[in-house]
C-alpha cells in the first residue's frame, strides 16, 4: 500500500510539473466541449433556397412567400430559367430549387390539383431528407389554406377533414440539440484524455529507460500498475466534474437523475479505459505507436457509439459489435441519467457490462505486463 502511495505521489508530481501537458489535460477538453457542443448539430438551418416562377400569379407568389416566412430557408433567388438554376446548384449557391409551372393558379382552381417540381442537392443525404420534409410541410400548409379558400367559393357541403398529429417530445421537449450532445461530448473527452494519458504514460517510461529500472526492483506488478493508473482515474473524474459544471452553467443541460449514480458509473467506466490504455502500452515500444493504436480504437468507438448516428439504424453485425464498445454504454448512461432521470435499476445492465469489461480488460493488461521478458 505504501509503495503505491510513492508511485502515485511521483506521478502527480510529474503530471503537474509538465507545463505543456496541463493545458492539454484540462483546458483543451473543456474548450472542445464548448465548441463541439455548439457546432455539432444535426439541425438543418440556413437552407439556400431558389425558385423558378413560371406562373407569376398571386397564388404562386403566396407560395413563395410561405418559404420566405420560414426560418429554415435563407436566401431566396428567383431564377428565370431551369438552366440558370441548375448551374447555381452545381456551384453550390443553392440547395433547394422549387419550380412553379405555367398555369399553376388556373389549374389549381379548375382541377383542384397540381404538381410542383422540387430539386434538392442530395450530396448530404441526411440533410436532403430533412429539407424534403420542410418543403413538403410548407406546401401542405399552403394547400390547406388554399383548400379552405377554394371551398368557400365553391362547394360548401364538404367540410375539409384533416387529421393532424401533435407530436410530443419526451425528455428533451424543445428538441434542443445541445441537451442531447453535451453529455455525449463530455463522454468523449473523459474517454480520450484518460485513454491517451494512460496509454502513453507507461510507454514513455519504456522509452526513457526508467521502466527497466523499475523492473529490477522487487515492486509487485499490481502495485506498480495501480500506482500508475490511479492518478489518471482521478484526472478522469475531475474532468467529468468540470464538464458537468460547464454543462449546467453554459448549456443548462438538465440533471434529472442522481449525481452519485453518475459518478459511480463513471468511476467504473474509467477503469475500462485505463485497462485498454495499459493493454496498449504493453504491446507498444514508443509513444508514437501507442498514440496511433489508441487513436484507431477511439475513432471506431466514437463513430459506433450512437453519439452521432443511432445504433438502431446500423446493420445487425455492427449492432453486435457495439456491444463491445464501452463508449456506447457511457453515452447511454449519461443520457439516461441526465435527461431521463434513470435510477440505479435502469442503468444496472450497463453498469454490470461495464464492470465485467473493466475486470477483463485490467486482468488481461496486468497478466500481459511482464517484469521479466
Amino acid at each position: 500500500m505504501k509503495t503505491i502511495l510513492y508511485i502515485v505521489q511521483k506521478e502527480f508530481k510529474q503530471i503537474f510539473r509538465n507545463k505543456g501537458m496541463l493545458p492539454i489535460i484540462f483546458v483543451l477538453p473543456l474548450l472542445q466541449l464548448v465548441i463541439l457542443s455548439n457546432a455539432a448539430t444535426f439541425e438543418v438551418k440556413h437552407i439556400k433556397f431558389g425558385y423558378i416562377d413560371k406562373d407569376r400569379t398571386s397564388t404562386s407568389r403566396a407560395l413563395v412567400e410561405k418559404f420566405n416566412a420560414s426560418t429554415y430557408f435563407d436566401v431566396l433567388t428567383n431564377f428565370p430559367s431551369e438552366a440558370l438554376a441548375s448551374s447555381a446548384m452545381l456551384k453550390g449557391e443553392v440547395d433547394v430549387v422549387l419550380e412553379i409551372p405555367h398555369y399553376f393558379e388556373r389549374d389549381l382552381q379548375k382541377e383542384k390539383y397540381n404538381t410542383l417540381g422540387v430539386t434538392i442537392n442530395a450530396i448530404d443525404g441526411a440533410a436532403a431528407g430533412v429539407e424534403n420534409v420542410y418543403v413538403t410541410q410548407i406546401v401542405q400548409r399552403f394547400n390547406q389554406n388554399l383548400k379552405v379558400e377554394l371551398l368557400q367559393v365553391s362547394d360548401q357541403q364538404i367540410q375539409p377533414i384533416t387529421i393532424e398529429t401533435i407530436p410530443l417530445f419526451w425528455y428533451n421537449e424543445t428538441l434542443n440539440y445541445k441537451t442531447f450532445m453535451v453529455p455525449g461530448i463530455l463522454v468523449l473527452l473523459v474517454t480520450m484524455i484518460t485513454l491517451f494519458l494512460s496509454g502513453m504514460n507507461i510507454v514513455r517510461e519504456k522509452e526513457i529507460g526508467t521502466l527497466e529500472q523499475i523492473n529490477v526492483t522487487p515492486i509487485k506488478k499490481s502495485q506498480f500498475i495501480i500506482g500508475k493508473l490511479f492518478p489518471f482515474w482521478v484526472i478522469g473524474m475531475g474532468l467529468l466534474t468540470v464538464g458537468l459544471i460547464l454543462a449546467k452553467l453554459i448549456f443548462h443541460v438538465p440533471m434529472l437523475g442522481s449525481l452519485p449514480l453518475m459518478y459511480l458509473y463513471t468511476s467504473i467506466y474509467i477503469l475500462v479505459i485505463l485497462g485498454i490504455g495499459l493493454f496498449i502500452s504493453n504491446f507498444t515500444e514508443t509513444q508514437q505507436q501507442a498514440m496511433f493504436i489508441a487513436w484507431f480504437f477511439t475513432v471506431i468507438f466514437i463513430l459506433m457509439s450512437g453519439l452521432f448516428t443511432p445504433i438502431e439504424s446500423m446493420p445487425k453485425w455492427a449492432q453486435l459489435f457495439t456491444e463491445f464498445n464501452p463508449i456506447k454504454y457511457f453515452v447511454e448512461v449519461m443520457r439516461m441519467v441526465m435527461l431521463k432521470g434513470s435510477g440505479f435499476m435502469d442503468i444496472l445492465p450497463q453498469l454490470l457490462k461495464t464492470l465485467t469489461y473493466a475486470v477483463i480488460m485490467n486482468g488481461l493488461a496486468v497478466w500481459r505486463y511482464r517484469k521479466t521478458t
Binding site: K2, T3, L5, Y6, I7, Q9, K10, K13, Q14, R17, N18, I208, G209, T210, E212, Q213, I214, N215, V216, T217, P218, I219, K371, T372, T373
Partner: protein, 242 residues
C-alpha cells in the same frame, strides 16, 4: 554449496531466434569482490547481466544470484541487488531528493530511513546545493554518481553496474571508482561492465566475453601473464581480435 559465492552461473544461455547472444557461460563471483565483466560491443555482456538481475529469462543453464535461482525466484533476487543501467534511468523531471525518496519508497524503506539515507547520500556526493533541483539539469557525471548511490539505497548484497562511466570525464571516473571501492569495502559485491581497460585493472577478477562466450577469466595480473601482455588493453585486443 559455498556461501561465499554470491553469483553462481553454469552454462547460462540466451537465444534470440537463431542467434545465440549468450553461449553457455560459466563463472562464480565471490562476496565482496569487484568483478569486471568485459567484452566488445555486442559480445553479450548486457544480455548476460539482464538474465542475472531477473529481467530477462534465460533459455537454458543454471544461475543463482544472492542464493536465489534466476528461473524461479527472480523477484527474491531483486530485493537483494542494485542495478545501474547504461542508460541513465532516474527521473529527469524529479529533483534529486524526490528521486531518492521514490526509489527508497519502492524498495520498501521507511520514511525515516529514507530521510537519513538521503541526507547522508546528498552530503557524500556534495549535492546539497542542487538537492531540490531537477535531476535533468545536472551534468552527466553527477547524474551517474547519484544513480550509483540510488542503486545502493537499500543496501543490496550485489550491485550490477552496466558501463557506469561511459561518457564521463577522467576526474569523475576516478571518483566513481572510489565509490565502488568503498561499497566493496563495506561488503557489497560489485559486478561491473566497462570498455575502459584501465578500469579493468582496478577489478579483483575480470572475465572477457567474445561472441557470447567467456574466453578468459582471472585476476588482471594472471591474465596479463597468460597472454604475455603489458596491459589489460593488450589482453583485450588479443582476445577480441581472435
Amino acid at each position: 554449496m559455498n556461501n561465499n559465492k554470491v553469483i553462481q552461473v553454469e552454462g547460462l544461455t540466451k537465444m534470440f531466434g537463431y542467434f545465440t547472444a549468450v553461449n553457455a557461460i560459466t563463472f562464480d563471483v565471490e562476496k565482496g569482490e569487484i568483478f569486471g565483466f568485459l567484452g566488445a560491443n555486442g559480445a553479450g555482456k548486457t544480455t548476460a547481466m539482464k538474465m542475472l538481475i531477473g529481467i530477462s529469462n534465460p533459455n537454458s543453464g543454471k544461475a543463482k544470484v544472492a542464493g536465489f535461482d534466476v528461473f524461479t525466484h527472480a523477484e527474491d533476487i531483486k530485493k537483494n541487488i542494485g542495478y545501474m543501467s547504461q542508460k541513465f534511468a532516474l527521473y529527469d523531471d524529479l529533483t534529486v531528493k524526490e528521486n531518492i525518496t521514490f526509489f527508497g519508497g519502492i524498495y520498501g524503506l521507511s520514511r525515516k530511513r529514507i530521510k537519513e539515507k538521503s541526507a547522508v547520500l546528498i552530503e557524500e556526493l556534495e549535492l546539497e546545493k542542487v538537492a531540490n533541483k531537477l535531476v535533468g539539469s545536472l551534468p552527466l557525471g553527477w547524474k551517474q554518481k547519484l544513480s550509483f548511490s540510488v542503486s545502493l539505497l537499500h543496501d543490496p548484497k550485489i550491485v550490477f553496474l552496466d558501463e557506469p562511466t561511459g561518457g564521463v570525464d577522467p576526474i569523475t571516473r576516478r571518483q566513481f571508482w572510489e565509490m565502488i571501492y568503498k561499497a566493496a569495502d563495506q561488503g557489497t559485491t560489485v559486478f561491473v561492465t566497462t570498455h575502459y581497460m584501465d578500469e579493468a585493472e582496478y577489478c579483483d577478477r575480470v572475465s572477457i566475453m567474445v561472441n557470447g562466450k567467456i574466453e578468459a577469466l582471472d585476476t588482471p595480473k594472471k591474465l596479463k601473464e597468460q597472454f604475455k601482455a603489458e596491459t589489460m588493453n593488450d589482453v583485450f585486443l588479443k582476445l577480441a581480435r581472435g
